[in-house]
Symmetry: C2
Subunit: 209 residues, 2 copies
Amino acid sequence: MKKTEKRTSRAEQKARRPQEILEAAFEEFTVKGYAATRVEDVAARLGVTKGTIYLYFPTKEVLFEEMFRHMSTPFKDVLDSVGGFKGTCADRLRTLLLLAYEKIPNDRKTRELLRLTLSDGTRFPDIVDRHFDEFIAPLVAAVRALVDEGVSAGEFRRGAAANYPDVVASSILHVAVWRLMFADRRSIDGPAFMEAHYDLALNGLLQRS
Amino acid sequence: MKKTEKRTSRAEQKARRPQEILEAAFEEFTVKGYAATRVEDVAARLGVTKGTIYLYFPTKEVLFEEMFRHMSTPFKDVLDSVGGFKGTCADRLRTLLLLAYEKIPNDRKTRELLRLTLSDGTRFPDIVDRHFDEFIAPLVAAVRALVDEGVSAGEFRRGAAANYPDVVASSILHVAVWRLMFADRRSIDGPAFMEAHYDLALNGLLQRS
DNA sequence: TATCACTGACTAACGGGTTAGTCAATTCAG
DNA sequence: CTGAATTGACTAACCCGTTAGTCAGTGATA
């Protein structure tokens, strides 16, 4: 079935297999969800048969969980770098939003993992925790740190918004959910939305002087 | 199986059945999703057998679609009423947000329909359209109308936020998604979040003068 | 009111199709 | 040739949708 390609030795192929399988699994699971995806579909995407999958992963459930882990790429490190940036809190808020938009609604991997967390999180509590630790907690922490600093510096107002920092970043989710729901059927202007978000959040935070 | 209760005649029972089935279907489908839910599970919830379901609905797909329709309760009418309210645009924004929070993240029905739209929308394009028409479009329209009026009256700033009204309401989604993801495992303070949202949005919109 | 023929909502059991997981046979690189 | 990687036929379990048969409830009749 798999045609023999001179450039890949058996050892290389075997070493590559797990990753290939996890990536094929990602494509299938995100389109159909856990229950509706067949292990055979995952195999077919690689041009192998079901048996091969079971040489590398013991069950469909384990395949799903390891796929989720494999596709969660680090976000916390990126965010932490914002702490080191210079400039006004307003400037750094902009940078933070840019990074968050890049990572959450603009990155297909992250977006689709959000879908899976919502659809199959009930059956796989681990992925919910992972999602929280990986994406939500770091982002909220970064926003909180920035807002607190802005308030201390007198640049931002004290007030309800400053006390519940989630609200500053939460619009990001709107774009992610929109894209998950409508895909190409209804487009959303990402940059324009982000500008609007930044404009509203910044003016909402700034001292009214 | 169903014990004879004097107070329910056959005719009454039969008239009630479709609704009972749709509500049982809602409970099952929202927990497990379309694919993982068995028609027998829906039946068991009512204390009847699978055959009974098929007396009222021809296929599992139709059952799902009709359940979705039955559970979508009108939102547009409620929102339209805000147009008639008196007061500053700030006051009416608050009312609008209150209504939207009540309807979207605080109403379990709406919240769970959002989950289904995200998980199974790919298989059932109709429910995506329905979701858009029922919830998203009316809310965005209401916000846009209010913001435009505020700008015309000189109460709100012109600016990016005023031009992309989704961003004013989008934090609502955060609470809905949070509750879908974490259920009771991580609580979120709804009223406090709404206050923060209102505070940020209003200050973001008001003239800075 | 008491009897009884009839109706129709419901059940139980099954056919047919699907899929997770297994394993003996096959292939092919080294 | 050898043995590791892969295949694909197979099994057992599952679930949708069907249908012959059941029996509770109804209402006509005396």
